[in-house]
């Protein structure tokens, strides 16, 4: 088989721990319609760029790292076709008064590339699934965010318009951002609503929205509004809604 693939369940752990607490969890790694694969296990720091791209870093690279608190075996294992494998790990939050807000790390499970035997220029594919681990220090949460730079830009090539806006994390916990984009017409009525996909705003992070205008936007739309509803760690309160708008004429 020339396929490669990997999955994790669950893909994230959102822990709220008191100082000194220990959490023990299990990640299930699974495959489907792939040959037997050797899986590499890694513990990483990770971050999101403003467009949502994920970057993995060596453990301990970021100021918000939870990697030192995670105990997990990094031994590779064989994952047979259409099978599952469970990985146990534990997280112990140090008893330190300096720890406040949210921290994070990720368990990474990676397939090995197929060895190439032919001559030429080759790209060998690997697949990796991350199980991200958030650790929030109980009772220290201070959720806060700001909406900045709401504007409309036009792509020079296609002529398509986009609403661009940044949301900056000014608190000490990660947030889940949901919301909608609305277009208001000359009568003051909402002519179009576009639900925004959920985005994660990491501590000290920035989320950049670039939202395409609907193709069927009525010609009398005069105002674009963006409303963001922040959610806090593990479904907690994430702060007040954020509003922004820009005139279209």
């Amino acid at each position: 088989m020339a396929q490669t693939g990997i999955g994790v369940a669950p893909p994230r752990f959102e822990l709220v721990l008191a100082a000194g607490d220990t959490y023990t969890g299990v990640v299930t790694v699974f495959s489907k319609n792939t040959p037997d694969q050797t899986i590499e296990v890694g513990l990483f720091d990770w971050l999101l760029d403003p467009t949502g791209g994920v970057g993995v870093l060596p453990p301990g690279s970021t100021a918000s790292t939870a990697a030192p608190w995670i105990d997990v075996s990094l031994d590779p294992f064989l994952l047979q076709n259409n099978s599952t494998h469970q990985i146990r790990f534990s997280v112990t939050l140090p008893d330190s008064p300096t720890l406040r807000g949210s921290y994070r790390a990720a368990l990474a499970f990676t397939t090995q590339p197929r060895a190439t035997i032919q001559q030429g220029v080759a790209a060998r594919m690997r697949t990796r699934a991350l199980a991200v681990v958030y650790v929030t220090v109980q009772g220290t949460e201070q959720p806060a965010a700001e909406l900045q730079g709401v504007t409309v830009v036009t792509d020079e090539g296609s002529g398509k318009r986009y609403l661009v806006a940044d949301v900056v994390n000014t608190g000490n916990v990660y947030l889940r951002l949901n919301g909608e984009l609305r277009f208001v017409d000359t009568a003051g009525e909402v002519a179009r609503r576009v639900e925004l996909p959920e985005r994660v705003l990491l501590r000290e992070g920035l989320v950049r929205y670039r939202l395409a205008f609907p193709d069927d936007l009525p010609g009398d739309a005069i105002l674009a509004q963006i409303e963001i509803q922040p959610g806090g760690p593990a479904g907690s309160y994430g702060g007040p809604p954020l509003y922004g708008e820009v005139a279209l004429r």
């Binding site: 999955g7 893909p11 489907k32 970057g55 590339p113 699934a129």
Partner: protein
Amino acid sequence: MKNAIRLLVLAGALLSVGALAQAGNATNFNFNFPAYAFVFTNVDTVTFDFDQTSGTSQLESVTGYYEASSAGLAACLDAFLESDTNNTLDGTGSYTIQTPSTTSNTCNFAPTSVTKNSSAFTVDWGSTGNPDGELLVITNAGGYTVTATFADGDGDWPSGLNIDIIAGVVSGATIAGAGQNVTSVSLGSTSTSATFNQNDDYTTQFANAYVIPQLYALQLDVMSASINTQGTVDASVTYTVTAP
């Protein structure tokens, strides 16, 4: 001052790559976990083999791209080279060609060997043509991101050479992606990572399952690249799925 480029062209027999494509297999990708994220590609290796004098039955020609063969390479170089001596490929050894002094010239090639497989999902591509690969993401955990990261582990990947990954399908003379957005990235000396998400995917008939069709091509900057294709020049592309 003229710039010279030097290429060492493969000699020897063409070798096939990867496993044979499985025909007619249906796969059930249904999962029963409360929350999960899964990434799968039916192409584990993409090879560009220039040790060909013409196209073969394994070749997947892509409209708008040269065939990844010596004939295709010669056709691309001839398009902008001066009419001069030593500008033909003979398929053996090395040669030097003189090029005009221009800012840049690139050649783009389609792969010569790509393995494919089928899945249980029925995907309406919405246009004619097939991708040269398929990235399937299945998750019930909300927003997902797939990051493609390029790494040259053994340090043999030359500068001026990039892998193009295009999220889309070929439709006649154009490459059409999901909706009106097509993510086209070059990984290698120009950049090392790229992100795919819901802007690039096709939904399937199954909830929580998304397909990102992948078209692979090779981009060669003939002004700066110095390729020694004796043996294997390879790099890895790691697809990382995250549902943060």
